[in-house]
Each structure stands twice: as structure tokens, then as C-alpha cells.
Symmetry: C2
Subunit: 203 residues, 2 copies
Amino acid sequence: MKEIPRPSKRRLVLLKRLLSEYEEKTITSQKIESLTGWSAAVVRRDISLLNIHCGASNGYKVCELKASLDELMDSDSQEQKCCIVGLGRMGQALLDNTELQSSQFRIVAGFDSNVNRTEVLRSVFPLHPTTILESVIQSEKIEYAILSVEKEEAQPIATRLSSCGIKGIVNYTPCVLTVPHNVEVENVCLLTALETLCAQSSK
Amino acid sequence: MKEIPRPSKRRLVLLKRLLSEYEEKTITSQKIESLTGWSAAVVRRDISLLNIHCGASNGYKVCELKASLDELMDSDSQEQKCCIVGLGRMGQALLDNTELQSSQFRIVAGFDSNVNRTEVLRSVFPLHPTTILESVIQSEKIEYAILSVEKEEAQPIATRLSSCGIKGIVNYTPCVLTVPHNVEVENVCLLTALETLCAQSSK
């Protein structure tokens, strides 16, 4: 499969979710434009990156599109294990996140440098001191980390996560993380999002 | 100024943050690559979209880069008012978010459809029932909304936000929002981020 650029992947992930609630048999790029705001040309280019053989003249067959998106997202695979590092307010809000329940992702461990927190907080998965991060990640075969530590801890923890086999980090901190090429980062911090919107709309 | 694509804007926002703690006088695209993982070619293309006249042969002058990024982000402007809609666990975690403190963004109102919540929760800004969303947004001249409502409420609220002058929405829900062209959305939901990482790294 061709290498798919990150912005296309972000849109394809959302397209998959959109289609999961779409009840027609076919969908056109114009229809997708009207639902998402992405231009029809961008939509067609994104879809052209998938293993799809149906023509687009009368719209895409929704079932083929879904199958191809499932393949891209590896949705049939076994569960993907995740951990949360940093159990402050944001980390705690993620502790009982119901959003992942019907997905292939499962949070199996939480970490905090404050041992009081890991002892007092309640969670369906075990909470550990950050000191044993590496051993838990390796023994549990955790692949993705959700980073919600304090600013000062962000880079040191990202470096440790990278060195023990984590494939991807969802970064809730405002820090720009320096990680090796084989580790992917998705930046979801509020400030970054607001600044991106602001730069957008001031044009 | 040229229209700057969203992925470039996201990187430029992070570049600005990176430079705010960078102490050398010049920086090369290769150095930025080593710090961020974006390829030097991508970095040079992004920077070429700014109003920058310095050559890149010996690196960019950090002060010129910063000035140009400040201009893009409109950082000198007066404060940008935001509101939070949806005060469940995620919304509450954002209530005392310290990340925005030194930025131009200020949260001035919170909304929830559960009046109990708006009465019981404590916050430095007023909390209102969602019924009066439009009047508060208009009287306070709020430009950005942080959406952290339940899934079922997401699209109806996004439609109401769009119709009362909101320029941009930071979307913490997993829903794909349909909004008019003049409203920008940044999707920061955990599931979307994990799926994007997973699609990335399974290639």
C-alpha cells in the first residue's frame, strides 16, 4: 500500500466514522464535502490512496469504502494496548473515558510520578509509579501512550516511552516532543488547537 | 498573505512554541527536523509560506521567524474569548486548565444542559445552562468554542454555535461535525488520535 500522508489519514479516520452511521448504499465526494467541509477534490484524492477499485462516477460503494478503510485502520486486528502517563485532571478525565469502549484500543495501565495518586485513584486498570514505566510497557506489550504529564516531565517521559517500544504518543501537553522516526506523535493539546484555529480564521 | 494549508499551520504553531525556548540566533531546517521529526524539506516549504525575506542558506534568523509567526498567529491581538460547552469529566478537566494562562485565549463562559452541574461546579468564569448559549456568546463576543458534550448533543450544539458567530470549534467529541465553510473545526478526540497513529504505524 502507498504511504499515506498524515492529513489524509486524519480525514480517512473521520470518514470511516462518518460512514459507520451512513445508511445509503453509495456516497459521492460532493456528499462527503457537504458533510465534512473538505473539498470534493481533496476527498477524491484521499480515497484514491486506498485500495479501491470502484469508479467514482456514480459515487463510491459504501461497503467497499468501509472495507478498505477497515484494512487501513487495521480494525480487525486484536486489541491495541495503551497506557496513560500523568494522572492529573486531564489524565483522570481520560481514566473513565467511554469513547474507547467499542474500539480496538484498550487502556491497560496508568502511571504517575506521584505515588499517592496511583494509590488513591480508582480505575479498572492498574496504576503504577512512573519509575516502573519500562517494565510494565514491555511485559504488557503496550504500543500506544497517552501523555498528560506536567510540561517539565513531557520530553523526558517521551524519550523513555520511545526507548521501550512505544509506537505512538497522543500528546495532551503543549510541548513539542522530540522522538525517533519510528515513533509517531499526535498533538491534541487545547492551546495548539486554538492557535491553529486562530491562524486559520485570521486570514 | 497566501492561504496556508491546515497541516502547515499546525506545524507552524508548534514551531513558534519550539522557538520560544530556543536560545541560538539562527536555526536551520535540518535542526528543526532533528527536534520535531518533520523533514527539512517540509520545514522549508512551511516557512516559505510566511512573510520571510531572510535566506535559508545559513539558517533562518530566529527573531525574524518568530516575528513572522507572531504575525500569522495574531499573537499581539487582544484576547480571544472562548467558551466550553459540556461540563462532564473532560469539560471539568478543562475548567482549571492552566495551559491557556499565558496565551491570548481566555475562557469566559461554560455551558451544560444539566443545570445542576452549572450550579454546583466552581469556576473562575460563569457557568450557564445551554439554553442561553446564543445570547451569552453574542453579548460576550465569544469567538471560539471547546466542545466536550455527549455524542448525541455534538451536532445540534455545533449547528447552534455556527449560527451565532463562532469562528472555530475545538472538538473533543468523536463526532464528525457538519458546519458551514466559515467555521473551522480542530478534532482532538482521543479515539481519532489513536486511530490516526494506528493507521500510521501499521504501514
